[in-house]
């Protein structure tokens, strides 16, 4: 009897397994979908930039390439987001008739209003980052941290993490772990446990 019973239950197993497997797969698939697709879609708010900027075109025609707009000032500070006066140096009147250029001149240059760019690489307020130390002394290229933005023809939407308020670009390649990894790989001597460089106050003023 006990053998029969065991047999009969053995026969029922495949159906139950199938059901469980199906449920398992369903749950598994749903969560994968939620985790990889829905969660990021909900987590990041997309905002268009006020103007579309063509880096590729500008680097070609500007006299000094990237340095024309992103330059070091005399005191070592870096022109990360150039002000409207830098744009005005070239754009005094509409020349190409493109939408972005017309808007630039009409809404910003003519009114001397700064363009409210959403900055992809904006670090939180607690971070002090010196471009001079990284670009001039360590001779890093812009793309090490900023990727191929210099080759872009249009400005991507800005993606803001709704929980933290940080930019997605910053989260993906410019977090403290990224700093620490790079400092580790390039063997910077120092005392900080995180970056193996001096003290906390180097980056957190």
């Amino acid at each position: 009897m006990s053998r029969n019973t065991r047999n009969s239950s053995d026969q029922q197993l495949p159906g139950s397994v199938r059901l469980h497997a199906l449920a398992f797969m369903l749950g598994f698939g749903c969560l994968l979908l939620i985790g990889w697709v829905a969660f990021p879609a909900l987590l990041y708010k997309n905002t268009p930039q006020p103007l579309s900027f063509n880096h590729r075109l500008h680097t070609k025609i500007a006299d000094d390439g990237c340095n024309s707009c992103h330059f070091f000032r005399k005191d070592g500070r870096f022109s990360g987001i150039p002000g409207i006066e830098t744009c005005r140096a070239c754009h005094t009147k509409v020349e190409t008739g493109g939408d972005s250029e017309t808007q630039l001149i009409r809404d910003y240059i003519a009114k001397t209003v700064e363009i409210p760019w959403q900055v992809y690489a904006r670090q939180p307020d607690s971070v002090f980052f010196s471009h001079a130390a990284h670009v001039r002394s360590a001779e890093l290229g812009c793309e090490t941290c900023h990727g191929d933005i210099g080759q872009s023809a249009v400005s991507r939407h800005y993606e803001e993490n709704v929980m933290t308020g940080y930019s997605r670009d910053m989260e993906e390649s410019m977090k403290m772990d990224d700093c620490a990894n790079c400092h580790e790989e390039t063997k910077q001597d120092g005392a900080s446990a995180q970056t193996d460089r001096d003290g906390c106050f180097i980056c957190h003023k």
Partner: protein, 708 residues
């Protein structure tokens, strides 16, 4: 399904990302203030918080000032800055700023409009005029230098009052003394950088002396180039601790030691040749200063310094290539005893270092405010300014003495600009009572300090970071400068230039016919006054002042009888009743001026100076044992003037029978960071007026300590 969901979840970034983001989210609560991002810009100016005149660089994010640092390429401080200068943003944004004109009504301050405030002042001034009492107007000013002081003085003169009373600096006292001694007024400029043997008579070189950062840089230079610093001081100060040699001396006897060294040097062949090279008139006066000085044996008895050590000091000094003797300064560069000043000047003269590299340079003040004289018929009243209530070189202490002596105040309106007499004058409790007798006290303070709180009307000035201000810097420099502070922050509150308040008051009193004040605004007045130099000053922030040659006409009028009084700067107090002597200590971490100490600086004050709210005093262990007291005990510190509760700290670097107390504490204003913390040393002191300069020179007072 749950199992599948869990497994699926672990293969997505969701849980890890969520955990990370939640942790970041908890660090960014919406109520945690995060400064707004914006365009960074830097702006140079000069610091006017002390007479040092350092260059500063302000960092702004858009319009908002966020940081003040030393200006890198400034010739005085080369990027250096003191804790007070570094506190710029705290001093700008502090809730302790007076944010609009204020009037006291029934004992409480209420905000009023500028129109109402100036009309109130004008109506009181008109009343004084009607009573034919123009001299009933007086003004206490932080200094006699700069266009704001000049405008205030001009206003008083036009009103018919001689009672303009700036707080004299040691430079004013030097001018008076050297004018009388040599017939030519000058201020010493010390060539610190090139001197090789420095005798410092109690100068707090690392705690704020001369132009403080320049002095500190020179001290570091001495260590590098092998120059020798001998510190002569009654206590082991920071300067004494870092000097090559510390000579412990009885309090208040620095002049005796300087004169004894002078006498010894004058007897050497080298000393003789130096003396004979000096102009005849000055030489004659010099001998008159040195002659009554003590012999080595007498000096040993007076100063407590071994005669052999004095002889050695004299030999080293005269034997060195570039000797330099430095004279002490009082708090905020106030004068010290004329006897001490002249003794140090004489010592430099006998060492042959006057106007020599590494020596003492004679610097003449160069007037740059060249407004036409006020004519008698410009004076609105009947009177023409007569004698100042506060003496020929007016002293705020003498002024308050007069106020205290009269049953009714001879002054009906007192203007107070850029000073805080209710806190920093000796016997400050008496000063507060004196100020209470004056019917209308008008303060121009930008901070709620003790004197602003005692005023009836406040017309607040802009902060030093929001205004233009001309600022001559002498401060012991061999190359004096005129500096211009420029606004590095936008104006935050409903404040006005003191200069504009004066001009508006003059307009309302005398109409546009007020010929003595032809300017529409203070900025116009400043620009016109600095005329050709305006562009340079606005661009670079400073210019070198010319150094006209010094000619001595030997018209000496000094009475040397004062030199016999060895204990001149110590107020009377019976020795048996008050067996101890209080010495005051200055520090870069505490500020004694009208601006107060910043919260940031208070955090750096050690608990051997301030423990919680208790003021700590240094006492020698032997003295404490005699008094049956030990570390941490509370005691009553009693002087003939006042008493205070203090905590005892045992310190071997303090002389037996002396008590060392810090300046800059014990405020009754400035909010929670300063109010009621420690003891105000000025409260315990008694004013002692110097017989030659008329200025208060009391830095010490007799005292006793009693157990609580």
């Amino acid at each position: 399904m749950g199992l599948g969901a869990s497994a699926g979840l672990t293969l997505t970034p969701l849980p890890w990302k969520l955990l990370d983001d939640i942790s970041i989210w908890t660090q960014n609560w919406p109520w945690v203030p995060v400064p707004k991002a914006g365009v960074v810009s830097i702006h140079d100016s000069i610091c006017t918080l002390c007479p040092g005149g350092c260059g500063i660089t302000a960092r702004r994010i858009d319009e908002r000032l966020v940081f003040v640092a030393g200006q890198e390429n400034h010739p005085l401080n080369a990027g250096g800055i003191c804790p007070l200068g570094l506190s710029g943003p705290q001093l700008l944004y502090t809730p302790n700023r007076v944010m609009s004109p204020m009037m006291k009504v029934d004992g409480a301050f209420q905000p009023i409009s500028w129109n109402a405030a100036i009309s109130t002042l004008v109506s009181h001034l008109k009343e004084l005029k009607q009573q034919q009492l123009p001299q009933g107007l007086a003004c206490l000013a932080g200094s006699g230098q700069g266009t704001v002081s000049a405008l205030l003085q001009r206003f008083l003169t036009a009103f018919g009052s001689p009672n303009f009373i700036p707080s004299a600096s040691i430079d004013d006292a030097w001018e008076l003394l050297t004018g009388q001694l040599t017939g030519s007024r000058f201020i010493p400029g010390y060539d610190l950088e090139r001197a090789d043997t420095i005798l410092s008579f109690g100068c707090d070189l690392t705690e704020g002396w001369g132009s403080p950062i320049r002095t500190m840089r020179a001290c570091s230079g001495w260590k590098e180039n092998g120059a020798k610093l001998v510190q002569i001081q009654s206590r082991l100060s920071d300067t004494a601790a870092t000097a090559d040699r510390w000579i412990a001396i009885n309090p208040g006897t620095e002049a005796d030691l300087a004169l004894a060294i002078c006498r010894t040097v004058a007897e050497t062949a080298r000393g003789q040749s130096h003396i004979s090279a000096i102009d005849s008139g000055f030489r004659h006066q010099l001998q008159a200063i040195i002659k009554p000085g003590p012999s080595l044996e007498q000096a040993e008895g007076i100063t407590g310094v071994d005669a052999q050590v004095i002889q050695q000091l004299a030999d080293d000094f005269v034997g060195s290539k570039r000797p330099l003797a430095l004279c002490r300064e009082g708090a905020d560069r106030s004068p010290v005893a004329s006897r001490e000043m002249l003794a140090v000047l004489a010592l430099n003269a006998v060492a042959g270092n006057i106007d020599r590299p590494g020596g003492l340079h004679r610097i003449k003040r160069v007037p740059y405010i060249n407004w036409p004289e006020i004519r008698r018929d410009d004076v609105a009243g009947s009177g023409w300014p007569g004698e100042n209530l506060a003496g020929p070189l007016p002293s705020p202490d003498a002024f308050f003495k007069t106020i205290a002596e009269e049953p009714d105040s001879p002054v009906g309106i007192l203007l107070v600009s850029d000073c805080n007499p209710c806190y920093d004058l000796a016997a400050s409790d008496r000063i507060k009572r004196g100020i209470g007798k004056i019917p209308l006290v008008v303060s121009f303070s930008e901070y709620w300090n003790e004197t602003a709180l005692a005023a009836n009307l406040i017309l607040p000035n802009h902060s030093y970071l929001e205004r233009y201000q001309d600022f001559p810097v002498y401060a012991g420099l061999t190359e004096p400068r005129l500096g211009l502070s420029r606004p590095v922050s936008k104006q935050l509150f409903d404040t006005r230039y003191t200069g504009d308040a004066i001009l508006e008051t003059a307009r309302q009193l005398w109409g546009t016919a007020g010929r003595a004040f032809p300017w529409k605004t203070y900025e116009e007045c400043l620009k016109e006054t600095l005329s050709d130099q305006w562009d340079d000053l606005k661009g670079r922030g400073w210019i070198n002042l010319p150094r006209p040659p010094i000619t001595s006409d030997n018209a000496a009028t000094i009475s040397y009888s004062v030199f016999s009084n060895a204990d001149i700067e110590t107020s009377a107090g019976e020795v048996h009743k008050y067996p101890l002597m209080i010495l005051t200590r200055s520090s870069m971490r505490l500020n004694n001026s009208a601006v107060g100490t910043s919260p940031f600086m208070m955090k750096s004050v050690s608990d051997t100076v301030l423990k919680g709210k208790k003021g700590v005093v240094d006492v020698n262990p032997q003295t404490a044992e005699k008094l049956n007291m030990t570390e941490g005990d509370m005691a009553r510190l009693i002087t003939p003037e006042a008493e205070a509760a203090v905590m005892i700290h045992l310190d071997d670097g303090t002389m037996p029978d002396t008590v060392v107390i810090s300046q800059g504490l014990g405020h009754a204003a400035f909010g929670e960071y300063l109010d009621g913390r420690g003891v105000n040393a000025s409260r315990l002191l008694q004013p002692v007026l110097d017989p030659l300069t008329g200025q208060n020179i009391s830095r010490t007072v007799r005292a006793r300590l009693m157990p609580v």
